[in-house]
Symmetry: C2
Protein backbone atom coordinates (compact mmCIF):
# COMPACT_ATOMS: atom_id res chain seq x y z
CA UNK A 1 0.00 0.00 0.00
CA UNK A 2 1.07 3.58 -0.65
CA UNK A 3 0.84 6.39 1.85
CA UNK A 4 -0.08 9.49 -0.07
CA UNK A 5 -2.03 11.34 2.58
CA UNK A 6 -1.14 11.68 6.27
CA UNK A 7 -3.34 13.20 8.95
CA UNK A 8 -1.58 14.52 12.03
CA UNK A 9 -3.70 14.80 15.16
CA UNK A 10 -2.02 17.07 17.69
CA UNK A 11 0.24 19.79 16.28
CA UNK A 12 2.89 20.20 18.96
CA UNK A 13 6.61 19.40 18.84
CA UNK A 14 6.22 15.90 17.41
CA UNK A 15 3.22 16.45 15.15
CA UNK A 16 4.65 19.68 13.79
CA UNK A 17 8.03 18.10 13.14
CA UNK A 18 6.45 15.25 11.15
CA UNK A 19 4.64 17.77 8.95
CA UNK A 20 7.77 19.88 8.48
CA UNK A 21 9.92 16.83 7.74
CA UNK A 22 7.51 15.63 5.02
CA UNK A 23 7.63 19.08 3.45
CA UNK A 24 11.39 19.61 3.79
CA UNK A 25 12.17 16.22 2.28
CA UNK A 26 9.84 16.87 -0.65
CA UNK A 27 7.93 13.64 -0.09
CA UNK A 28 4.93 13.05 -2.32
CA UNK A 29 2.57 12.99 0.64
CA UNK A 30 -0.28 15.39 1.35
CA UNK A 31 -0.61 16.43 4.98
CA UNK A 32 -3.60 17.48 7.01
CA UNK A 33 -3.79 18.31 10.69
CA UNK A 34 -5.98 19.00 13.66
CA UNK A 35 -5.41 20.17 17.20
CA UNK A 36 -8.13 20.60 19.77
CA UNK A 37 -6.66 23.99 20.76
CA UNK A 38 -7.76 26.71 18.27
CA UNK A 39 -4.66 28.79 19.08
CA UNK A 40 -2.44 25.83 18.16
CA UNK A 41 -4.41 25.33 14.94
CA UNK A 42 -3.88 28.98 14.03
CA UNK A 43 -0.16 28.83 14.75
CA UNK A 44 0.15 25.55 12.83
CA UNK A 45 -1.50 27.10 9.79
CA UNK A 46 0.74 30.17 10.08
CA UNK A 47 3.92 28.05 10.23
CA UNK A 48 2.64 25.70 7.51
CA UNK A 49 3.20 22.61 9.68
CA UNK A 50 0.71 20.73 7.45
CA UNK A 51 -0.86 21.41 4.08
CA UNK A 52 -4.33 21.93 5.55
CA UNK A 53 -5.47 22.47 9.13
CA UNK A 54 -9.06 21.40 9.88
CA UNK A 55 -11.44 22.42 12.64
CA UNK A 56 -12.39 18.86 13.56
CA UNK A 57 -10.44 15.61 13.82
CA UNK A 58 -12.99 13.76 11.67
CA UNK A 59 -12.50 16.20 8.79
CA UNK A 60 -8.72 16.08 9.13
CA UNK A 61 -8.55 12.29 8.79
CA UNK A 62 -10.93 12.01 5.82
CA UNK A 63 -9.20 10.09 3.01
CA UNK A 64 -5.96 9.78 5.01
CA UNK A 65 -3.92 6.59 4.45
CA UNK A 66 -2.10 7.14 7.70
CA UNK A 67 -3.33 8.90 10.82
CA UNK A 68 -0.69 9.74 13.44
CA UNK A 69 -1.87 10.65 16.91
CA UNK A 70 0.60 13.12 18.43
CA UNK A 71 -1.21 13.83 21.68
CA UNK A 72 -0.26 13.00 25.29
CA UNK A 73 -0.59 9.26 25.84
CA UNK A 74 -3.43 9.76 28.30
CA UNK A 75 -5.45 11.51 25.60
CA UNK A 76 -5.01 8.87 22.86
CA UNK A 77 -8.33 7.10 23.50
CA UNK A 78 -10.37 10.31 23.45
CA UNK A 79 -8.57 11.56 20.35
CA UNK A 80 -9.24 8.26 18.56
CA UNK A 81 -12.95 8.42 19.46
CA UNK A 82 -13.13 11.94 18.08
CA UNK A 83 -11.75 11.03 14.67
CA UNK A 84 -13.53 7.67 14.27
CA UNK A 85 -16.35 9.00 12.11
CA UNK A 86 -14.04 10.37 9.45
CA UNK A 87 -11.68 7.42 9.23
CA UNK A 88 -11.22 5.62 5.90
CA UNK A 89 -11.53 1.82 6.25
CA UNK A 90 -8.03 1.19 4.92
CA UNK A 91 -6.31 3.81 7.09
CA UNK A 92 -3.40 2.90 9.36
CA UNK A 93 -3.69 4.40 12.85
CA UNK A 94 -0.38 5.11 14.51
CA UNK A 95 1.01 7.43 17.17
CA UNK A 96 4.24 8.80 18.66
CA UNK A 97 3.62 8.10 22.34
CA UNK A 98 6.35 7.15 24.80
CA UNK A 99 4.45 4.24 26.39
CA UNK A 100 3.12 1.59 24.06
CA UNK A 101 1.09 -1.10 25.83
CA UNK A 102 -1.38 1.40 27.26
CA UNK A 103 -1.68 3.23 23.95
CA UNK A 104 -2.29 0.00 22.03
CA UNK A 105 -5.10 -0.87 24.44
CA UNK A 106 -6.66 2.58 24.34
CA UNK A 107 -6.63 2.71 20.54
CA UNK A 108 -8.00 -0.82 20.16
CA UNK A 109 -10.86 0.03 22.52
CA UNK A 110 -11.66 3.28 20.71
CA UNK A 111 -11.37 1.94 17.16
CA UNK A 112 -12.33 -1.74 17.11
CA UNK A 113 -11.34 -3.43 13.86
CA UNK A 114 -9.07 -0.59 12.71
CA UNK A 115 -5.50 -1.20 11.53
CA UNK A 116 -3.58 0.01 14.57
CA UNK A 117 0.24 0.03 14.59
CA UNK A 118 1.70 2.03 17.49
CA UNK A 119 5.12 3.64 17.08
CA UNK A 120 7.55 5.73 19.06
CA UNK A 121 10.17 7.95 17.47
CA UNK A 122 12.87 8.28 20.14
CA UNK A 123 13.42 11.97 19.55
CA UNK A 124 12.39 15.22 21.12
CA UNK A 125 13.58 18.30 22.91
CA UNK A 126 12.53 19.97 26.14
CA UNK A 127 10.34 22.35 24.16
CA UNK A 128 6.73 21.82 23.19
CA UNK A 129 3.90 23.39 21.23
CA UNK A 130 3.35 24.34 17.58
CA UNK A 131 6.42 26.60 17.47
CA UNK A 132 8.79 23.90 18.72
CA UNK A 133 8.80 21.52 15.74
CA UNK A 134 11.61 21.35 13.19
CA UNK A 135 12.18 19.28 10.08
CA UNK A 136 15.29 17.38 11.20
CA UNK A 137 13.98 16.16 14.56
CA UNK A 138 13.87 12.54 13.40
CA UNK A 139 17.02 12.48 11.28
CA UNK A 140 19.31 9.66 12.30
CA UNK A 141 17.11 8.81 15.30
CA UNK A 142 15.47 5.48 16.05
CA UNK A 143 11.77 4.94 15.57
CA UNK A 144 10.46 1.92 17.46
CA UNK A 145 7.37 0.33 15.95
CA UNK A 146 5.42 -2.10 18.16
CA UNK A 147 3.19 -4.08 15.79
CA UNK A 148 0.35 -5.98 17.45
CA UNK A 149 -0.17 -9.72 16.83
CA UNK A 150 -1.76 -10.37 13.46
CA UNK A 151 -0.69 -7.03 11.97
CA UNK A 152 -1.17 -6.58 8.23
CA UNK A 153 2.39 -6.96 6.83
CA UNK A 154 1.73 -4.49 4.01
CA UNK A 155 0.56 -1.85 6.47
CA UNK A 156 3.58 -2.47 8.70
CA UNK A 157 5.92 -2.15 5.72
CA UNK A 158 4.23 1.09 4.69
CA UNK A 159 4.61 2.58 8.17
CA UNK A 160 8.26 1.49 8.35
CA UNK A 161 8.91 3.06 4.96
CA UNK A 162 7.25 6.25 6.09
CA UNK A 163 9.56 6.66 9.08
CA UNK A 164 12.58 5.72 7.01
CA UNK A 165 11.65 8.45 4.56
CA UNK A 166 11.65 10.93 7.44
CA UNK A 167 15.29 10.00 8.10
CA UNK A 168 14.70 7.61 11.01
CA UNK A 169 16.13 4.16 11.60
CA UNK A 170 13.27 1.75 12.28
CA UNK A 171 13.25 -1.06 14.83
CA UNK A 172 10.41 -3.48 15.60
CA UNK A 173 9.79 -4.38 19.23
CA UNK A 174 7.23 -6.00 21.45
CA UNK A 175 5.18 -3.30 23.22
CA UNK A 176 5.89 -4.63 26.72
CA UNK A 177 9.62 -4.75 26.04
CA UNK A 178 9.53 -1.25 24.60
CA UNK A 179 7.95 0.00 27.78
CA UNK A 180 10.69 -1.57 29.89
CA UNK A 181 13.53 -0.25 27.70
CA UNK A 182 12.10 3.25 27.60
CA UNK A 183 11.47 3.22 31.35
CA UNK A 184 15.26 2.98 31.70
CA UNK A 185 16.46 5.18 28.86
CA UNK A 186 13.86 7.90 29.16
CA UNK A 187 11.18 7.72 31.84
CA UNK A 188 13.38 7.22 34.92
CA UNK A 189 15.90 9.84 33.74
CA UNK A 190 13.02 12.30 33.42
CA UNK A 191 11.57 11.34 36.78
CA UNK A 192 14.83 11.84 38.65
CA UNK A 193 15.52 15.09 36.83
CA UNK A 194 12.09 16.41 37.82
CA UNK A 195 12.72 15.22 41.37
CA UNK A 196 16.12 16.82 41.92
CA UNK A 197 15.00 20.12 40.39
CA UNK A 198 12.01 20.05 42.74
CA UNK A 199 14.17 19.13 45.72
CA UNK A 200 16.62 21.94 44.97
CA UNK A 201 13.89 24.54 44.72
CA UNK A 202 12.36 23.55 48.06
CA UNK A 203 15.42 23.92 50.30
CA UNK A 204 15.50 26.36 53.19
CA UNK A 205 19.26 26.58 53.76
CA UNK A 206 20.12 27.09 50.08
CA UNK A 207 18.18 29.76 48.21
CA UNK A 208 16.65 29.22 44.79
CA UNK A 209 18.80 32.03 43.43
CA UNK A 210 21.93 30.20 44.61
CA UNK A 211 20.74 27.00 42.98
CA UNK A 212 20.30 28.81 39.67
CA UNK A 213 23.49 30.84 39.94
CA UNK A 214 25.72 27.81 40.47
CA UNK A 215 23.81 25.40 38.24
CA UNK A 216 26.76 25.02 35.84
CA UNK A 217 28.17 22.35 38.15
CA UNK A 218 25.77 19.76 36.72
CA UNK A 219 22.31 20.80 37.88
CA UNK A 220 21.58 22.82 34.74
CA UNK A 221 21.53 19.63 32.64
CA UNK A 222 18.71 18.34 34.81
CA UNK A 223 16.74 21.56 34.48
CA UNK A 224 16.64 21.06 30.72
CA UNK A 225 15.01 17.65 31.03
CA UNK A 226 12.76 18.92 33.82
CA UNK A 227 11.45 21.60 31.46
CA UNK A 228 9.72 18.99 29.31
CA UNK A 229 5.98 19.11 28.75
CA UNK A 230 4.15 18.46 32.07
CA UNK A 231 1.02 16.85 30.60
CA UNK A 232 2.94 14.55 28.30
CA UNK A 233 5.14 13.37 31.14
CA UNK A 234 2.38 13.02 33.71
CA UNK A 235 0.65 10.69 31.24
CA UNK A 236 3.82 8.69 30.54
CA UNK A 237 4.27 7.88 34.22
CA UNK A 238 0.61 7.03 34.71
CA UNK A 239 0.44 4.78 31.65
CA UNK A 240 3.80 3.03 32.09
CA UNK A 241 3.40 2.57 35.82
CA UNK A 242 4.54 -1.05 36.06
CA UNK A 243 7.86 -0.68 34.23
CA UNK A 244 8.57 2.71 35.80
CA UNK A 245 8.04 1.42 39.35
CA UNK A 246 10.15 -1.66 38.61
CA UNK A 247 13.07 0.39 37.30
CA UNK A 248 12.67 3.00 40.02
CA UNK A 249 13.01 0.23 42.60
CA UNK A 250 16.31 -0.85 41.10
CA UNK A 251 17.58 2.71 40.88
CA UNK A 252 16.69 3.31 44.54
CA UNK A 253 18.49 0.16 45.62
CA UNK A 254 21.62 1.23 43.75
CA UNK A 255 21.41 4.73 45.18
CA UNK A 256 21.11 3.33 48.69
CA UNK A 257 24.23 1.24 48.11
CA UNK A 258 26.16 4.35 47.05
CA UNK A 259 24.81 6.25 50.03
CA UNK A 260 26.17 3.53 52.28
CA UNK A 261 29.55 3.65 50.48
CA UNK A 262 29.76 7.41 51.03
CA UNK A 263 28.75 7.11 54.68
CA UNK A 264 31.35 4.41 55.35
CA UNK A 265 34.08 6.12 53.31
CA UNK A 266 34.27 3.23 50.84
CA UNK A 267 36.08 4.98 48.00
CA UNK A 268 36.72 1.80 46.01
CA UNK A 269 33.03 1.17 45.43
CA UNK A 270 32.59 4.73 44.19
CA UNK A 271 35.67 4.60 42.00
CA UNK A 272 34.68 1.29 40.43
CA UNK A 273 31.22 2.50 39.47
CA UNK A 274 32.48 5.86 38.19
CA UNK A 275 34.99 4.06 35.96
CA UNK A 276 32.38 1.69 34.61
CA UNK A 277 29.92 4.45 33.73
CA UNK A 278 32.59 6.29 31.76
CA UNK A 279 32.73 3.36 29.33
CA UNK A 280 28.97 3.63 28.68
CA UNK A 281 29.41 7.24 27.59
CA UNK A 282 32.03 6.19 25.06
CA UNK A 283 29.59 3.71 23.53
CA UNK A 284 26.80 6.27 23.38
CA UNK A 285 29.09 8.51 21.37
CA UNK A 286 30.52 5.73 19.20
CA UNK A 287 27.02 4.73 18.22
CA UNK A 288 26.15 8.25 17.16
CA UNK A 289 23.62 8.80 19.93
CA UNK A 290 25.20 11.99 21.23
CA UNK A 291 27.47 14.86 20.37
CA UNK A 292 31.08 13.94 21.12
CA UNK A 293 32.15 17.47 21.86
CA UNK A 294 32.72 18.24 25.57
CA UNK A 295 29.69 19.60 27.38
CA UNK A 296 27.45 18.76 24.36
CA UNK A 297 29.41 21.41 22.46
CA UNK A 298 27.65 23.97 24.61
CA UNK A 299 29.23 27.41 24.23
CA UNK A 300 31.30 28.84 27.06
CA UNK A 301 30.31 32.44 26.30
CA UNK A 302 32.45 35.39 27.07
Amino acid sequence: MTISRVAIIGLGLLGGSIGLAIKARGLDIATTGYDRDPAVRAKAAERGLVGQVYGTAAEAVTDADLVILCVPVGAMGAAAHELALGLAPHAIISDVGSSKEAVAEALAAALPGACIIPAHPVAGTEQSGPEAGFATLFSGRWCIITPPDGVDPAALAALSDFWTQLGSKVELMDAAHHDLVLAVTSHIPHLIAYTIVGTASDLEDVTQSEVIKYSAGGFRDFTRIAASDPVMWRDVFLTNKGAVLEMLGRFSEDLTALQRAIRSGDGDTLFDLFTRTRAIRRQVIEQGQDDERPDFGRGHGE
Copy 2:
Protein backbone atom coordinates in the same frame (compact mmCIF):
# COMPACT_ATOMS: atom_id res chain seq x y z
CA MET B 1 50.01 42.83 46.15
CA THR B 2 50.59 41.92 42.53
CA ILE B 3 50.42 38.43 41.09
CA SER B 4 53.10 38.18 38.46
CA ARG B 5 53.93 34.50 38.73
CA VAL B 6 51.45 31.63 39.12
CA ALA B 7 52.35 28.01 39.80
CA ILE B 8 49.78 25.40 38.76
CA ILE B 9 50.03 22.07 40.54
CA GLY B 10 48.10 19.42 38.59
CA LEU B 11 47.86 19.94 34.82
CA GLY B 12 44.50 18.38 33.97
CA LEU B 13 41.31 20.05 32.70
CA LEU B 14 41.24 22.81 35.33
CA GLY B 15 44.98 23.42 35.70
CA GLY B 16 45.52 23.38 31.95
CA SER B 17 42.62 25.76 31.36
CA ILE B 18 44.01 28.27 33.86
CA GLY B 19 47.37 28.25 32.06
CA LEU B 20 45.75 28.58 28.65
CA ALA B 21 43.42 31.35 29.82
CA ILE B 22 46.35 33.40 31.19
CA LYS B 23 48.13 33.02 27.87
CA ALA B 24 45.10 33.64 25.64
CA ARG B 25 44.15 36.78 27.54
CA GLY B 26 47.70 38.13 27.32
CA LEU B 27 47.96 38.66 31.07
CA ASP B 28 51.30 39.84 32.39
CA ILE B 29 51.71 36.71 34.50
CA ALA B 30 54.41 34.05 34.21
CA THR B 31 53.16 30.50 34.61
CA THR B 32 54.89 27.38 35.88
CA GLY B 33 53.44 23.94 36.39
CA TYR B 34 53.93 20.50 37.83
CA ASP B 35 52.05 17.22 37.65
CA ARG B 36 53.09 14.06 39.43
CA ASP B 37 52.49 12.06 36.24
CA PRO B 38 55.47 12.39 33.84
CA ALA B 39 53.22 11.69 30.84
CA VAL B 40 50.98 14.58 31.85
CA ARG B 41 54.02 16.83 32.28
CA ALA B 42 55.19 15.93 28.77
CA LYS B 43 51.77 16.60 27.23
CA ALA B 44 51.47 19.87 29.19
CA ALA B 45 54.82 21.03 27.84
CA GLU B 46 53.83 20.02 24.32
CA ARG B 47 50.53 21.93 24.48
CA GLY B 48 52.18 24.89 26.23
CA LEU B 49 49.69 24.83 29.09
CA VAL B 50 52.20 26.78 31.20
CA GLY B 51 55.39 28.68 30.43
CA GLN B 52 57.60 26.16 32.17
CA VAL B 53 56.89 22.62 33.41
CA TYR B 54 59.07 21.42 36.30
CA GLY B 55 59.92 17.92 37.49
CA THR B 56 59.08 18.63 41.14
CA ALA B 57 56.36 20.64 42.86
CA ALA B 58 58.91 22.49 45.02
CA GLU B 59 60.73 23.78 41.93
CA ALA B 60 57.48 24.74 40.21
CA VAL B 61 56.33 26.94 43.10
CA THR B 62 59.65 28.74 43.63
CA ASP B 63 59.05 32.51 43.49
CA ALA B 64 55.37 32.05 42.70
CA ASP B 65 53.01 34.71 44.10
CA LEU B 66 50.06 32.39 43.72
CA VAL B 67 50.04 28.60 43.85
CA ILE B 68 46.87 26.89 42.61
CA LEU B 69 46.36 23.25 43.49
CA CYS B 70 44.39 21.58 40.70
CA VAL B 71 44.42 18.02 42.01
CA PRO B 72 41.58 15.81 43.28
CA VAL B 73 40.38 17.10 46.66
CA GLY B 74 41.60 13.96 48.42
CA ALA B 75 45.13 14.67 47.20
CA MET B 76 45.33 18.31 48.30
CA GLY B 77 47.12 17.63 51.60
CA ALA B 78 49.80 15.46 50.01
CA ALA B 79 50.31 17.91 47.15
CA ALA B 80 50.69 20.77 49.62
CA HIS B 81 53.27 18.80 51.63
CA GLU B 82 55.21 18.13 48.46
CA LEU B 83 55.55 21.78 47.47
CA ALA B 84 56.12 23.20 50.98
CA LEU B 85 59.91 23.43 50.68
CA GLY B 86 59.81 25.64 47.60
CA LEU B 87 57.08 28.01 48.75
CA ALA B 88 57.81 31.74 48.99
CA PRO B 89 56.70 33.23 52.34
CA HIS B 90 54.36 35.72 50.68
CA ALA B 91 52.71 33.20 48.34
CA ILE B 92 48.95 32.73 48.29
CA ILE B 93 47.89 29.07 48.26
CA SER B 94 44.62 28.41 46.52
CA ASP B 95 42.91 25.53 44.74
CA VAL B 96 39.98 24.68 42.45
CA GLY B 97 38.40 21.85 44.43
CA SER B 98 34.67 21.16 44.54
CA SER B 99 34.48 20.72 48.35
CA LYS B 100 35.89 23.51 50.47
CA GLU B 101 35.78 22.75 54.20
CA ALA B 102 37.85 19.58 53.84
CA VAL B 103 40.32 21.28 51.51
CA ALA B 104 40.77 24.23 53.86
CA GLU B 105 41.54 21.82 56.70
CA ALA B 106 43.94 19.71 54.65
CA LEU B 107 45.86 22.75 53.41
CA ALA B 108 46.04 24.35 56.84
CA ALA B 109 47.42 21.12 58.30
CA ALA B 110 49.99 20.74 55.54
CA LEU B 111 51.12 24.37 55.39
CA PRO B 112 50.76 25.93 58.86
CA GLY B 113 51.06 29.69 58.75
CA ALA B 114 50.74 29.96 54.98
CA CYS B 115 48.27 32.34 53.32
CA ILE B 116 45.57 29.87 52.29
CA ILE B 117 42.48 31.05 50.35
CA PRO B 118 40.48 28.16 48.86
CA ALA B 119 38.45 28.78 45.72
CA HIS B 120 36.14 26.88 43.40
CA PRO B 121 35.54 27.93 39.80
CA VAL B 122 32.12 26.44 38.97
CA ALA B 123 33.15 25.28 35.52
CA GLY B 124 34.22 22.08 33.87
CA THR B 125 33.32 19.48 31.30
CA GLU B 126 33.06 15.71 31.44
CA GLN B 127 36.57 15.45 30.03
CA SER B 128 39.78 15.36 31.99
CA GLY B 129 43.54 15.28 31.55
CA PRO B 130 46.12 17.60 29.96
CA GLU B 131 44.42 17.54 26.55
CA ALA B 132 41.03 18.62 27.92
CA GLY B 133 41.76 22.20 28.96
CA PHE B 134 40.75 25.23 26.93
CA ALA B 135 41.21 28.97 27.39
CA THR B 136 37.54 29.97 27.71
CA LEU B 137 36.51 27.44 30.36
CA PHE B 138 36.06 30.12 33.00
CA SER B 139 34.59 32.86 30.82
CA GLY B 140 31.33 34.13 32.27
CA ARG B 141 31.31 31.42 34.97
CA TRP B 142 31.20 31.96 38.71
CA CYS B 143 34.25 31.44 40.88
CA ILE B 144 33.41 31.00 44.54
CA ILE B 145 36.16 32.03 46.94
CA THR B 146 35.85 30.83 50.54
CA PRO B 147 38.22 33.02 52.55
CA PRO B 148 39.07 31.74 56.03
CA ASP B 149 38.63 33.92 59.13
CA GLY B 150 41.39 36.49 59.45
CA VAL B 151 42.34 36.37 55.78
CA ASP B 152 44.75 39.05 54.54
CA PRO B 153 42.47 41.48 52.63
CA ALA B 154 45.18 42.33 50.11
CA ALA B 155 45.72 38.66 49.29
CA LEU B 156 41.99 38.11 48.95
CA ALA B 157 41.70 41.10 46.63
CA ALA B 158 44.60 39.81 44.53
CA LEU B 159 43.02 36.36 44.18
CA SER B 160 39.65 37.90 43.27
CA ASP B 161 41.31 40.08 40.66
CA PHE B 162 43.09 37.07 39.26
CA TRP B 163 39.84 35.16 38.64
CA THR B 164 38.16 38.26 37.28
CA GLN B 165 41.01 38.61 34.80
CA LEU B 166 40.32 35.04 33.65
CA GLY B 167 36.78 36.11 32.77
CA SER B 168 35.05 34.76 35.86
CA LYS B 169 32.50 36.41 38.12
CA VAL B 170 33.72 36.17 41.72
CA GLU B 171 31.56 35.48 44.77
CA LEU B 172 32.69 35.15 48.38
CA MET B 173 31.08 32.48 50.51
CA ASP B 174 31.50 30.66 53.78
CA ALA B 175 33.11 27.25 53.15
CA ALA B 176 30.37 25.28 54.90
CA HIS B 177 27.67 27.06 52.94
CA HIS B 178 29.58 26.48 49.69
CA ASP B 179 29.64 22.78 50.43
CA LEU B 180 25.88 22.70 50.96
CA VAL B 181 25.11 24.72 47.81
CA LEU B 182 27.41 22.63 45.65
CA ALA B 183 26.02 19.40 47.11
CA VAL B 184 22.71 20.42 45.49
CA THR B 185 23.87 22.02 42.27
CA SER B 186 26.67 19.62 41.46
CA HIS B 187 27.42 16.69 43.76
CA ILE B 188 23.95 15.13 43.97
CA PRO B 189 23.32 15.59 40.23
CA HIS B 190 26.58 13.73 39.58
CA LEU B 191 25.75 11.02 42.10
CA ILE B 192 22.35 10.28 40.61
CA ALA B 193 23.73 10.37 37.08
CA TYR B 194 26.41 7.84 38.03
CA THR B 195 23.75 5.75 39.74
CA ILE B 196 21.23 5.59 36.88
CA VAL B 197 23.95 4.85 34.33
CA GLY B 198 25.15 2.02 36.58
CA THR B 199 21.60 0.74 37.12
CA ALA B 200 20.91 0.74 33.39
CA SER B 201 24.04 -1.21 32.56
CA ASP B 202 23.27 -3.91 35.15
CA LEU B 203 19.81 -4.94 33.97
CA GLU B 204 19.06 -8.45 32.80
CA ASP B 205 15.82 -7.84 30.90
CA VAL B 206 17.14 -4.82 28.97
CA THR B 207 20.48 -5.24 27.21
CA GLN B 208 23.27 -2.68 27.41
CA SER B 209 23.09 -2.28 23.66
CA GLU B 210 19.41 -1.35 23.90
CA VAL B 211 20.20 1.18 26.61
CA ILE B 212 22.79 2.82 24.38
CA LYS B 213 20.71 2.62 21.22
CA TYR B 214 17.70 4.37 22.72
CA SER B 215 19.61 6.76 24.96
CA ALA B 216 18.33 9.82 23.08
CA GLY B 217 15.19 9.72 25.22
CA GLY B 218 17.02 11.40 28.12
CA PHE B 219 19.54 8.85 29.34
CA ARG B 220 22.35 10.16 27.14
CA ASP B 221 22.43 13.43 29.11
CA PHE B 222 23.21 11.43 32.23
CA THR B 223 25.98 9.49 30.52
CA ARG B 224 27.78 12.76 29.86
CA ILE B 225 27.88 13.66 33.54
CA ALA B 226 28.67 10.06 34.47
CA ALA B 227 31.76 10.23 32.24
CA SER B 228 33.41 12.73 34.59
CA ASP B 229 36.75 11.95 36.22
CA PRO B 230 36.33 9.01 38.64
CA VAL B 231 39.08 9.99 41.10
CA MET B 232 37.98 13.59 41.30
CA TRP B 233 34.38 12.57 42.01
CA ARG B 234 35.22 9.80 44.44
CA ASP B 235 37.11 12.40 46.46
CA VAL B 236 34.29 14.95 46.29
CA PHE B 237 31.82 12.50 47.81
CA LEU B 238 34.25 11.37 50.50
CA THR B 239 35.22 14.92 51.50
CA ASN B 240 31.74 16.47 51.36
CA LYS B 241 30.04 13.54 53.03
CA GLY B 242 27.86 15.50 55.46
CA ALA B 243 26.24 17.85 52.95
CA VAL B 244 25.94 15.12 50.31
CA LEU B 245 24.18 12.72 52.67
CA GLU B 246 21.89 15.50 53.89
CA MET B 247 20.85 16.46 50.35
CA LEU B 248 20.61 12.85 49.26
CA GLY B 249 18.17 12.23 52.10
CA ARG B 250 15.94 15.03 50.87
CA PHE B 251 16.14 13.84 47.27
CA SER B 252 15.21 10.31 48.32
CA GLU B 253 12.21 11.55 50.30
CA ASP B 254 10.97 13.51 47.30
CA LEU B 255 11.52 10.56 44.99
CA THR B 256 9.56 8.31 47.32
CA ALA B 257 6.68 10.79 47.27
CA LEU B 258 6.64 10.73 43.46
CA GLN B 259 6.83 6.94 43.48
CA ARG B 260 3.74 6.91 45.68
CA ALA B 261 1.98 9.37 43.35
CA ILE B 262 2.71 7.13 40.35
CA ARG B 263 1.59 4.01 42.19
CA SER B 264 -1.68 5.60 43.26
CA GLY B 265 -2.31 7.30 39.90
CA ASP B 266 -2.15 10.77 41.42
CA GLY B 267 -1.62 12.78 38.23
CA ASP B 268 -2.13 16.16 39.90
CA THR B 269 0.94 15.77 42.10
CA LEU B 270 3.04 14.88 39.06
CA PHE B 271 1.62 17.71 36.96
CA ASP B 272 2.16 20.29 39.70
CA LEU B 273 5.81 19.37 40.17
CA PHE B 274 6.49 19.17 36.42
CA THR B 275 5.04 22.64 35.96
CA ARG B 276 7.07 24.09 38.80
CA THR B 277 10.36 22.68 37.53
CA ARG B 278 9.79 24.23 34.11
CA ALA B 279 9.97 27.68 35.69
CA ILE B 280 13.39 26.88 37.17
CA ARG B 281 14.75 26.13 33.70
CA ARG B 282 13.57 29.52 32.49
CA GLN B 283 15.53 31.21 35.27
CA VAL B 284 18.67 29.18 34.55
CA ILE B 285 18.53 30.45 30.96
CA GLU B 286 17.59 34.02 31.87
CA GLN B 287 20.59 34.20 34.16
CA GLY B 288 22.93 33.05 31.41
CA GLN B 289 23.76 29.74 33.07
CA ASP B 290 22.85 27.61 30.06
CA ASP B 291 22.33 27.62 26.33
CA GLU B 292 18.75 28.59 25.51
CA ARG B 293 18.64 26.58 22.29
CA PRO B 294 16.54 23.38 22.50
CA ASP B 295 18.50 20.29 23.46
CA PHE B 296 21.56 22.44 24.35
CA GLY B 297 21.79 23.28 20.65
CA ARG B 298 22.91 19.71 20.09
CA GLY B 299 22.92 18.81 16.39
CA HIS B 300 20.24 16.52 15.01
CA GLY B 301 22.25 14.50 12.49
CA GLU B 302 22.08 14.79 8.69
